[in-house]
């Protein structure tokens, strides 16, 4: 009797332990990629998810301009910075819009009027992808979606940009 009891409990113990270890490992696997994705963002910003991109709101016009900024991670000088950039302008409703420059086809960086043949459009050098000024992809060019948009807000007259969202939600 007591032998059996002991065996059962030993088995149970083993079961618990194995589940425990398995669960722990799974949690580790789940957490680390997420943390890798989130950490730079968390470390970078003084106030929430938004970063100061070094542009005064009053300087934003109806002509898209490129802003570049970096998100810091403090461990050595090189592995430590993530580059970000955006095209910022004021649309016809006087709203500030900041596009992600990452082409929705395969991810090259697009430029406003990057090709002389296509004035007033964003141009992707990789496969001639194009977007209108409002970020919508030009039909018949490789991209199938509009450019993504940054969340944005104004603090003390400066432009702060946050997470990237698909165009529709913006």
């Amino acid at each position: 009797m007591s032998d059996e009891k002991q065996q059962v409990s030993r088995r149970q113990f083993l079961n618990y332990t194995l589940t425990g270890v398995g669960g722990f490992m799974a949690a580790g696997l789940l957490i680390s990629p997420v943390r890798m994705a989130i950490d730079p963002v968390l470390k970078s910003n003084d106030g929430g998810d938004f970063a100061n991109v070094g542009l005064e709101v009053s300087e934003i016009t109806s002509d898209p301009q490129r802003v570049d900024w970096t998100i810091d991670q403090v461990d050595g000088w090189y592995e430590s910075e993530v580059n970000r950039s955006a095209w910022v302008y004021r649309n016809e409703n006087d709203e500030i819009v900041a596009f992600s420059p990452v082409c929705k086809h395969l991810g090259c960086v697009v430029s406003w009027e990057g090709n002389d043949d296509y004035p007033e459009q964003y141009y992707c050098p990789c496969h001639d992808g194009r977007y209108y000024k409002n970020g919508v992809n030009v039909p018949g060019t490789p991209p199938l979606q509009p450019l993504d948009v940054y969340e944005q807000e104004e603090r003390d007259g400066m432009l702060f940009l946050g997470n990237i969202k698909p165009h529709e939600e913006a």
Binding site: D68, T70, W77, Y78, E81, N83, C103, H105, L106, G107, C108, V109, C124, P125, C126, H127, P142
Partner: protein
């Protein structure tokens, strides 16, 4: 695209769009401190630079692992081995095989290479302000982007 399993999956789906491969070439040695450290610094800068270049052009460019060689290696022999890499890449097919390096000695054998060689003036790292180095890398990246585009 980078040589990672994730990007290789993307590449597999979009091979017809990714026709250019970029191979960084970096000398290394572990010997006298000063030249070794200099090579190590340049290796870091080259890695950073290659990553930025890839970021700009990732939809059409594959970044290969860095080709390393001993600083004193006979360049003509290395060139032969690099040509093997090049023919391997062309099987994919990649149309453009571009080598980038700070090492000026490749210029002498550039004609023997089956790929294109792009020489980058080296960026001094020692005692420089990280922000200045970043700026220089950025500038060189944009110039090289233009150069790569001229091959398309």
């Amino acid at each position: 695209m980078k040589w990672t399993s994730m990007d290789l999956q993307k590449y597999d789906q979009a091979k017809e769009y990714i026709d250019t491969i970029i191979v960084p070439l970096a000398p290394f040695q572990i010997g006298a401190l000063e030249p070794s450290a200099k090579n190590a610094d340049q290796f870091d800068v080259l890695t950073l630079f290659a990553r930025e270049l890839e970021q700009e052009l990732m939809g059409r460019v594959m970044l290969a692992p860095t080709y390393t060689y001993i600083t004193t290696a006979e360049k003509s022999q290395e060139a032969e081995r690099m040509n093997e890499w090049t023919s391997h890449f062309k099987e994919q097919p990649f149309k453009q095989v571009l080598y980038i390096s700070f090492d000026p000695s490749w210029r002498k054998v550039a004609n023997d290479l089956d790929g294109e060689f792009i020489w980058l003036p080296s960026i001094p790292l020692k005692d420089s302000d990280p922000a200045v180095v970043k700026g220089m890398i950025r500038e060189q990246t944009m110039q090289t982007v233009e150069l790569v585009k001229s091959f398309w």
